[in-house]
Amino acid sequence: MAVAALLLLLAGCSSGGQKEGGPVTLRFQSLAWQQESVAANKELVREWNAAHPDVRVEYVQGNWDSVHDQLLTSFEGGEAPDVIHDASDDLADFAYGGDLADLSGLLPARLKADIPQRSWQATTFGKGVYGVPFLQEPRVLMANSVWLRKAGVRIPTPEHPWSWAEFRKITARLSGDGRYGVAWPLKEPVSVTLNLGLSAGGTLFQRGSDGKVSVRFRAGDAVVPRTVHDQVARDRSAPASTLGSGGSDTLPGFFAGRYAMVPLGFSYRQQIEQQAPKGFQWEVLPAPAGADGLTQGVSPQTLSIAEDCPHKKEAARFIDFLLRPQNMVRLALGDWMLPTGTEALADPALHTTDRGWATGTALAARLRPAPAQSVRGYPEWKDKIATPALQEYYSGAIGLADLRKRLEKDGNLVLARYQR
């Protein structure tokens, strides 16, 4: 009796399903998590629901850490959200697996034209488009303004950035007495290395005429790793202690004047703004440039539609509403990121020098899809081969020849298993 009563009580607390013949209900799972970002998303959903009584959107908050596993299970069980917020580097398996709808024929021409082709490339798998890229963030240098100006170094701009060699020299000049010119938080060394490596022409993954992908570590690929390695192991202009840290872990040292610069994602400005001591003067500088200028890889945030969604057209209309230029700006400001949309990117709010917005916006045209995000076997190559190899190289435990050997020889063995 007690068991039955308890189950009935619990069942009574559960939500009901969609009523027959009622308005269409779409579940929108958002991964927004910062206060302003959540507020912007909820506000937009409220506006949509007020204007579209026939298509009701239910806001569900997910989280970045477990979204892949959660979606995987939901897709298998046919219970996935209708509109899915994720990142382009997480979409490949779902796109190839038939879990996401091909948006090619669903999206309006306005939205297709507003987002540049280079951004669409990040969500194109095979012949289909499986997500709308809408927010992205370049990696930038968060810099201690007072320290840099006292040292008299040239302050780089997007028009006149530092080269990697100049960056190395400047960090060496800024270092000494237990203080460092730069702190590299390289908890995820592979994505940072590959994304920044594009600036020096690094391509690492080569696709052959047979369509198969192999790893080739060439001169362009070596520029970024060698700079970091030399800063840590030779110049002592970067501490080894932060190599295993996340970006947030380096901020206390940055605020305390231990590091002059920290390479971080553009959205970290929100944390700096919130946590920096009063009077701390900081600014956003572009990451160093190489043979390919300021080019770098990014994995844009995306909106997708589940293949099982019975109301794909309505879901596409909602995405179109969410990503109207003025709405995209609201989402970008809430997340402290850059919008992908050309019109949104032109908004004056994103061109102010305040909090480095203008620097970030100037980099937008140089952002490309992160290398390897569509390479089969990349996650295993990253976890088993590249991460330990780069960590050992950055800490000085192995040299460049060993790094090359492990990335290529061991790495290609891994990739080959996925391409038989």
């Binding site: 189950l7 619990l10 607390c13 939500s15 206060q35 850490d65 219970e79 908890k187 009063k278």
Partner: protein
């Protein structure tokens, strides 16, 4: 034999160090929950906040439905604990008192079942619950928690039942007590500490569980506290640390309260289960 004062002091020092080790994460959480953002970014963090604030708690409550999520967690955890104990107790009694081959096989299966990781069972479980229309329902989640905690609860209770001397039941029978009377008046009171410890185990397991709740619940109104806590965490492990600590601190309180209420019984229960009579 009397312990030397130096040895005794050493024992207390070791005990104190162990207690500090155990309490460290909780105390750090407590300290962080009351710190303003600027103190969280300090290179030399202090235990006592310079400017203690309740802003993190306010923000946590403003941003997330913590109370509603806590109520969901409480219902699922209490439900799981009560049902698991109600099922496990008679099973444990039979397995402990009647050492037949089915009882031995059941014991073996209980141990083996502990070896299955979450990821192996989650998709089949999801499909089964979907067929039963128990996806996105606290009843379904509670059922999962019962199934998940039952093997270990059973294993714990078998130990407690074995610790109750069978001679006591035989003495009651000699005095004319029937089987039911013996169970209610003799065995049950002696098993109470074990039942309390098992219930607490099932409660805490369900209260803290994250992944099943994440996958099985869809509606925001059904989400449990561990799932809501992750909403303070962003990409690459970046977290809204102050509100997260405040919410996490509040989330630990029910377990502490339940433990405090049952502490004496549990301690007795653990000893009863540990010592062979």
């Amino acid at each position: 034999m009397r312990t030397r004062p130096a040895a005794r002091a050493g024992q207390y020092a070791a005990l104190l160090a162990y207690l500090i080790f155990l309490a460290f994460p909780f105390l750090w959480l407590l300290s962080t929950a009351f710190k303003p953002p600027r103190e969280l970014g300090s290179l030399h963090p202090t235990w006592i906040p310079h400017r203690p604030t309740l802003a993190n708690f306010r923000q946590a409550f403003d941003e997330q439905p913590l109370l509603h999520a806590a109520l969901n967690s409480l219902l699922a955890a209490l439900g799981a604990a009560v049902i698991a104990v109600l099922i496990a107790t008679p099973m444990a009694y039979v397995m402990a008192r009647h050492r037949t081959w089915p009882a031995r096989a059941a014991s073996g299966w209980v141990v083996v079942s502990q070896a299955f990781p979450f990821v192996l069972v989650i998709i089949p479980l999801f499909l089964v619950l979907k067929r039963l229309r128990l996806i996105d329902s606290l009843a379904g989640l509670t059922l999962v928690y019962v199934v998940w905690s039952l093997p270990f609860a059973l294993w714990m209770l078998v130990g407690y039942v074995r610790a109750v001397p069978v001679e006591l039941e035989e003495a009651a029978a000699v005095d004319g007590a029937g089987r039911l009377r013996t169970l209610v008046s003799v065995t049950a009171p002696l098993l109470a500490p074990g039942i309390a410890a098992t219930a607490l185990f099932a409660f805490v397991t369900a209260w803290n569980e994250f992944f099943f709740a994440l996958v099985l619940l869809k509606s925001p109104g059904n989400q449990t506290l561990p799932v809501v806590l992750t909403h303070f965490i962003g990409a690459e492990g970046v977290a809204d640390l102050g509100p997260l600590a405040a919410a996490a601190f509040l989330a630990t309180l029910p377990s502490l309260v339940v433990f405090a209420l049952l502490q004496r019984r549990i301690t007795g229960g653990l000893i009863a289960g540990a010592v062979k009579s």
